[in-house]
């Protein structure tokens, strides 16, 4: 064989190999990726999340998560009360606790969660590409997001959009008082769109100053770059606690829009969506039945109420064992409640009277107390 023949032969073999590979149609990727360590260190969480694991879409995410042994949860990371890092470097908050509840239900271990901090702009694509298993990041349920981003689980927090002003600098009580003012807002949020809609329908002119991240938004507002800042009321209350003079800042009474916040599961996977949905319902139902993290074991053993027994996966006398069909262990609710408690405990621990926020339950009470929380029967 001559020298000049070898390269040609090699090229032809390479071409054949590539052609053979090229004809394979792209298959659904159900391989599990290497999960990074469960403990999150401060530097990693405060920066916007890189796509560490390649996004995977699958219609069997429950099996994927159980095989991986860890739940990848997209959270805010910078919102006190909902998800932020405390001084021990643990992700704490209302949303973070629901991540733990889901992990307890699916994996039996509430700490098997990989928290991914996502900005408002990143959360949609992160969910669409399958980079996170679930998005629990104070996300408002809208029809556009329902069709584009993912399936919305029941609302865990009924909120509304509000505006906060510095009462020492700005004298305003209604929206009309803000004519000509500059208002800080984050990009990629329903807040941004609602702001434009509300003020144009009122016929009031305002200037908006839009930031990509949550921290520069509130920093600029505090510096005085904007006269007001707008977001969900709970977010305003939460961020206000970190200001230099929290009492100077007043949230106007006006409610600009409905903001139902809840977890979001990726599109296309009904089994996984049912799991997420029923974890939320379980916490609400537990509050309704009076099951708390302290008495859940007791009630499992000693209760005679068939509703309680069925929820806790215990055998009900004179009936066949109940299979929810969710694909979880029968006593998954016991795991959830003993890990994070019922809805009232989650709320009180993160946003209740003992915290700097002291948010009233309001619409976030049970339907029996005049609120909007209503869990379907578990049977």
């Amino acid at each position: 064989m001559t020298r000049s023949g070898m390269p040609v032969i090699a090229m032809i073999i390479l071409a054949l190999v590539v052609t053979a590979c090229g004809d394979t149609p792209p298959a659904t990727d159900t391989d599990t990726s290497e999960a990074p360590a469960a403990s999150v260190d401060a530097a990693e969480s405060t920066a916007p999340a890189e796509s560490a694991a390649p996004g995977e879409t699958t219609d069997n995410r429950l099996a994927l998560v159980q095989e991986r042994g860890e739940l990848i949860c997209g959270v805010n990371g910078s919102l006190p009360g909902f998800s932020f890092l405390d001084d021990q470097g643990q992700n704490t908050g209302f949303d973070a606790d629901f991540c733990r509840a889901l992990a307890a239900a699916v994996l039996g271990d509430p700490e098997a969660v990989d928290f991914r901090a996502l900005s408002a702009d990143q959360r949609g694509p992160a969910l669409q590409t399958g980079e996170v298993d679930v998005l629990i990041r104070n996300t408002t349920w809208t029809v556009g997001r329902d069709t584009a981003w993912g399936l919305f689980a029941p609302t865990t927090f009924y909120d509304g959009q509000a505006i906060m002003v510095d009462s020492t600098a700005v004298d305003a009580t209604t929206l009309e008082d803000l004519a000509g003012a500059t208002i800080c807002v984050q990009s990629g949020t329903t807040t941004e769109l609602n702001l434009a809609d509300t003020f144009s329908s009122l016929g009031v002119d305002i200037e908006t100053q839009v930031f990509a991240d949550i921290d520069p938004t509130y920093a600029a507002y505090e510096e005085g770059r904007c006269d007001a800042v707008t977001s969900d009321r709970s977010q305003l209350v939460a961020r206000r606690t970190a200001f230099a003079n929290p009492d100077d800042h007043v949230i106007l009474e006006a409610v600009l829009s409905k903001e139902p916040l809840g977890p979001v599961a990726p599109l296309g996977d009904h089994e996984w969506f049912n799991v997420v949905k029923w974890v939320v319902f379980a916490t609400i139902e537990a509050e309704e039945l009076g099951i708390t993290s302290e008495n859940v074991q007791d009630m499992a053993e000693t209760s005679v109420n068939p509703v309680v027994l069925r929820l806790l996966g215990q055998p009900v006398p004179d009936t066949d064992p109940f299979d929810s069909g969710l694909g979880l262990e029968p006593d998954w609710v016991i795991d959830v409640i003993s890990a994070v408690g019922n809805y009232a405990e989650i709320y009180d621990r993160n946003l209740g009277p003992g915290t700097p926020f002291d948010l009233e339950r309001g619409l976030n009470s049970l339907w029996t107390d005049g609120g909007l929380l209503y869990a379907p029967p578990y049977r």
């Binding site: 040609v8 032809i12 003012a181 941004e192 990509a212 920093a219 005085g224 770059r225």
Partner: protein
Amino acid sequence: MTPEPRSTSATTVPPWRDVRVLRIAAQVVVIVVFGVLVVFIARNFLGAMEERGLGFGFSFLGRSAGFDISESPIPYTPADTYSTAFIVGLLNTLFVSLVGIILATILGVIVGVARLSPNWLVRRIASGYVELIRNTPLLVQLFIIYFAVFLQLPSVAQTLTFPGSIFVNQRGLFLPGPQLNASFPIWLGLVAVGIGVLVAARIYARRREDAGRPQPGLRSIAWIVLAGIVVIGWVITAPVVFDLPVRQQFNFAGGLALSPEFSALLAGLVLYTAAFIGEVVRGGIQAVRRGQLEAARALGLSEGDTLRLVVFPQALRIIVPPLTSQYLNLAKNSSLAIAIGYPDLFKVGQTMANQTGQPVPVIMMVMATYLAISLFTSALMNLYNRRVQVLER
């Protein structure tokens, strides 16, 4: 001994040893491999997109945007389409990049020359500046300039007022805004006439000089005539009306406003890129042969004249290619505007990607636009480069 005769057609070479055939075969193989790779990637991409339900289409461009953009060179409301919003972002990026390139070049040349100054203090300051700025991340510098400099200016209630209706506060710099009148074209016409007179006068003076009968003062008279036409024409036609900024309850309305976001981004980009340009300029100047400097000194040229007439034209040959890179860097670094709230192309693109739920087409549009800007800039610079290179001989 005579060399062997070359092979004639009587001794044909088999195809697998014929160099011409092999060359063509190699090309074909490479093309096939490349084509297969492209097809594979495209199919993989489209398949993955469909799987994730991301959709691929540009129909959203005609829909109403719904979000506001805080500053825009053309009139924009949330009711305008996504394509209008995209264009606004593009114009903002182009504006900050253009002004940034001009200012960074000026500052960079000053810094580069200062680093070679015989004055010890000037040299130290320039070196310190370059080392500090080059070795810290641009994003950090932008945050510092925005939060620690521009937002620390006095609040609106304590605005600094300057004569001529100029106001400075943390919400921006407010100047009287020129508004063009209906008589502006008339004034432009008068100026054009004046320039025509000037050009004609210069040509005539040149002709007279070439013929050996110089007419002194012709050029100066032409310049004075032009100046007279400009000034008198301005006074008579009043082509520009100034819109003064007026304090409203919260902000200033009217006039020309430079927002702190724009100023901070511009300052950050200029300071950062000027450090790099300074080094490029210094390298170019130092590459000019010492013999040139000595010859210029021997001729009695001053320092300034040496720099301007001898060193710089030769240094430009070395400076222009890396300078092009720095210009492209500046244009691309302007995308960091998203961190401090300046609505540039990238930020508008991000918002669009989020609100439409179709990140991939939007990202492709943004990338294509940045590519176009960069290619255009480097094409222009390469034209200039060719001119500079030819001038040597």
